[in-house]
C-alpha cells in the first residue's frame, strides 16, 4: 500500500492503521447544496449532482491532531471543512445499504481544509491538495461505539469560540447510502477513509488561530493555523 509517512492516528481495531487514501464527498450536506441556491440549475452546472461527487486528499495532505496548517502566502483565510470520516475495515465493493456499515472499522474526525474557491465546475487541486491540508484523528473510534452515524453533532471552534454546529442527520446521502453508491464503481480498501461531506457555510481560519472540531463520541481534533513565514 502507499508508501511514505502516514499521520499518527491511533486505531485499536483491524486494520490497525490508515492506508493513506482519503476520499471525500462534496455537496453531500443539504446545507452545502442549499448554499448554492438556484445557481445549481444554471451553467456551468445545469443541474444538481446525480451521482456522488467525490475528490481525493492525497497523502501529502494528511496530518495528525496538533500539527500546524500553513496558510499559503497571499491567502487571507482557509476554510475549515469539518466532517465525519468513515474508516473502512474490510474490502468494500458493491455494498448493499443494509450491510454497508458492517464494512466499517470505525469513525474519525476529518478537517478537509481548502483555500476558498468558486466555481465548483473544475477547481484546481491546488485549493485542496496542499501539504498538511487534511488533519484527521485524534483516533479511530470503533464502529460498535457509535449507535447511529447519521445522528452525530459536529462543532467547530476557533480560539475556543463556537463558529459552526452541524449534524450528520442532514446528509444528502446518509452514511449507508453513500457507501452503497460509491462502492458501486470503486472498491474501498481496509484503512481507506471516506469523508461524508462538509456543511455550509464552513467557518474560516486565519494564521494565528486554532481550530478545534468536536464530534459526539469521537473526541476533538485541534490544529493551529500558521503563517507561511512562521
Amino acid at each position: 500500500m502507499p508508501l511514505g509517512p502516514r499521520p499518527a492516528v491511533s486505531m485499536d481495531v483491524p486494520p490497525y492503521g490508515l492506508s493513506g487514501t482519503l476520499y471525500g464527498a462534496l455537496l453531500n450536506h443539504q446545507s452545502a447544496l442549499q448554499a448554492l441556491g438556484e445557481t445549481i440549475n444554471h451553467p456551468p452546472y445545469q443541474r444538481a449532482p446525480q451521482a456522488p461527487v467525490l475528490y481525493l486528499k492525497p497523502r501529502n495532505t494528511l496530518a495528525a491532531c496538533g500539527e500546524p496548517v500553513t496558510v499559503p502566502p497571499g491567502v487571507a483565510e482557509l476554510e475549515i471543512g469539518a466532517t465525519l470520516g468513515l474508516v473502512i475495515g474490510r474490502s468494500a465493493c458493491r455494498l448493499s445499504e443494509e450491510r454497508a456499515l458492517e464494512h466499517l472499522a470505525g469513525y474519525l474526525i476529518v478537517n478537509d481544509v481548502s483555500i476558498p474557491h468558486q466555481p465548483y465546475y473544475r477547481p484546481s487541486i491546488r485549493f485542496k491538495a496542499r501539504d498538511g491540508f487534511c488533519p484527521l484523528g485524534p483516533r479511530v473510534v470503533p464502529r460498535a461505539a457509535i449507535a447511529n452515524p447519521d445522528s452525530l453533532t459536529l462543532r467547530v471552534y476557533l480560539d475556543g469560540e463556537l463558529k459552526q454546529t452541524a449534524t450528520t442527520a442532514q446528509l444528502v446521502r446518509p452514511v449507508a447510502k453513500l457507501l452503497a453508491d460509491v462502492t458501486d464503481f470503486m472498491t474501498l480498501s481496509p484503512g481507506d477513509v471516506l469523508a461524508v461531506g462538509v456543511a455550509a457555510p464552513a467557518p474560516r481560519a486565519r494564521a494565528g488561530q486554532v481550530a478545534r472540531i468536536e464530534i459526539d463520541a469521537l473526541g476533538r481534533l485541534e490544529n493551529p493555523f500558521v503563517d507561511s513565514a512562521a
Binding site: M1, P2, L3, G4, G20, T21, Y23, L26, L27, P44, Y45, Q46, P49, Q50, A51, P52, V53, L54, Y55, L56, P58, R59, N60, T61, P72, C93, Y120, Y121, R122, P123, S124, I125, R126, A129, R130, D131, F185, M186, T187, L188, S189, D192
Partner: protein, 256 residues
Amino acid sequence: MKLARVACAGAIHAAQPQQLSDGRAGVRLTDGRTLAEDEVVWLPPLEVGTILALGLNYAARAKELAFGKEVEPLVFLKGPGTLLGHRGVTRRPAGVKFMHYECELAVVIGRSARGVRRSEALEHVAGYCIANDYAIRDYLENWYRPNLRVKNRDGATVLGPWLVDASDIPDPANLGLRTYVNGKLTQQGNTRDMSSDVPALIEYLSSFMTLTAGDVILTGTPEGAVNVEVGDEVVCEIEGLGRLQNTIAGDALFGR
C-alpha cells in the same frame, strides 16, 4: 533497465524482458526462471503513491474538446484501486455509450520534490511507464470535473508493463504514442505536443505540494480517443516503453 512486477507460482517477483528460445516475448524472474508473457500475472510495475492525472494536456486534444489553451494545467487525482496490470481486463458497464481509452506517458517520481524548478525537475524522475486511463463519458457531470465515476473506476487505469529507468529515456518530450484497437491504429501522437511538458508539470505540482517517490503523473492523451466495445483488445505503445495490452469485458465477467 525495464522492470515489471509479476505474480507467478505463488509469489510476486521482479521481472525483466527476456526473449524465449522459440522467439516469443517473455520475462526472466530475478530467481532465474524464464516464462512466456502469458504464464505470469502482470501487476502495476510499482507500489504507487499519489496518482495525478492531466486533462486536456495536448493542444489537439484540447481543440477536440472545444477548449482554448489552458492557462493552468488541469490536474485531477485518482486512487490506487483504479490501477490494473498489463494484460488485465477492464469492465464496460452495460448501457454506456462512450467509453474510451487514453494512452498516456506515466512519469514516476523517484525523489521528493517541493518547490523544484523546471531546470532540475527531471532529476526527480525515477522512470516512465505506459498508462491507459479509461473514461466513461456517460457519467460526466459538471461538478468537480472529471468526477471519479468517470475516471476512478476499479481496474480502469492500466499501468505498465515496465517501469523503464529515466536514464534510458533521455528525452521524454519526443516519444511517439500509438493506440491500436483489435490491431487497427486509432490514436497517434507525440509527447512533444504536450501543452505542459514533464518538467513544467513537476515544477507546477511541486509549487504547492510535495511529490514523493512512488507518486505517478499521468500526462494526458493526444487526440484520437474512440469508443471501445466488449471484447476489444486495446494496445497502447510508447516509444522505448513497450506495449501495454488490455481487454474490455462486459458485466457478466464481474458477476453483474
